[in-house]
Symmetry: C2
Subunit: 151 residues, 2 copies
């Protein structure tokens, strides 16, 4: 069973190594006494996330999410990293592949299926919906420093 | 110049197609009257994000972020999708490659460099730091529906 490796951490950061994208299938997520979900890994604990949860999942050909789900207060973004599949929200089904990115509101009933012939790997991130206001523009939040950048 | 393609949208979602990861280099970000940054694309507008900003960037060999930056209130996660480079926070420098993931607190002085011989592509997401409390566990926020999943 693969585990997330710590690279380095400091006062203001944590860096980990998940492994290459085709190694995501080697993770195992305990789902109770008798069941382990293969190919899924959550990262908030290893990274020390304070306002989001991030996970990676690999679905083998024919595999789907297994259930529809919604959220109470979190918006989600799905990024398809490789493979081909179908995504559905509220019964609307559409094809996805490498570079497809889907935002889903808390209320959206969602699921993903690998409908291709190779593994499908995706990244999912969730965070508080409606947390940004006009003044939270990332361009306004970032501060470019007037310090020399050296390596 | 490449642009983000809309796939489908509905009451509770937006789906877009960024293109394959090796096409990120073809995006151009206007940075003022006389300068365009090649290989960078922001997605919050196309996706209608309400609590995060997501961007993709490809750095060519030798290229770095160009400056150190911090944030006022946003935590950031960087995911290295391909390539090899160096990442720095508060002067601490460490190697990164496919599958490296870095969380940076608002105060961390950060930058990334492609120190390899091929393009380095990364995904960056920012959201409100410290937005989650104990009860915001993603396991608590998600609601698994007792409805048939069909395709």
């Amino acid at each position: 069973m693969k585990t997330v490796q710590q690279i380095k951490s400091g006062k203001n950061f944590n860096a980990v190594n998940l492994g290459t994208m085709n190694e995501v299938i080697n993770y195992e997520l305990p789902m109770g006494k008798d069941f382990t979900l293969k190919g899924k890994v959550f990262l908030s604990q290893a990274l020390g996330l304070t306002g989001a949860e991030m996970s990676f999942q690999t679905l083998v050909p024919g595999q789907d999410s297994g259930f529809l789900h919604t959220h109470k207060t979190h918006e989600e973004i799905y990024v398809i990293i490789s493979g081909e599949g179908q995504y559905q929200v509220d019964g609307e089904i559409f094809p996805v592949s490498e570079g497809s990115i889907i935002r889903v509101s808390p209320d959206g009933k969602r699921a993903l299926k690998n409908s291709g012939t190779s593994n499908l790997t995706m990244l999912c991130i969730q965070y508080k919906a409606n947390a940004f206001t006009e003044k939270d523009s990332p361009m306004e939040d970032g501060i470019i420093l007037n310090e020399k950048l050296s390596w």
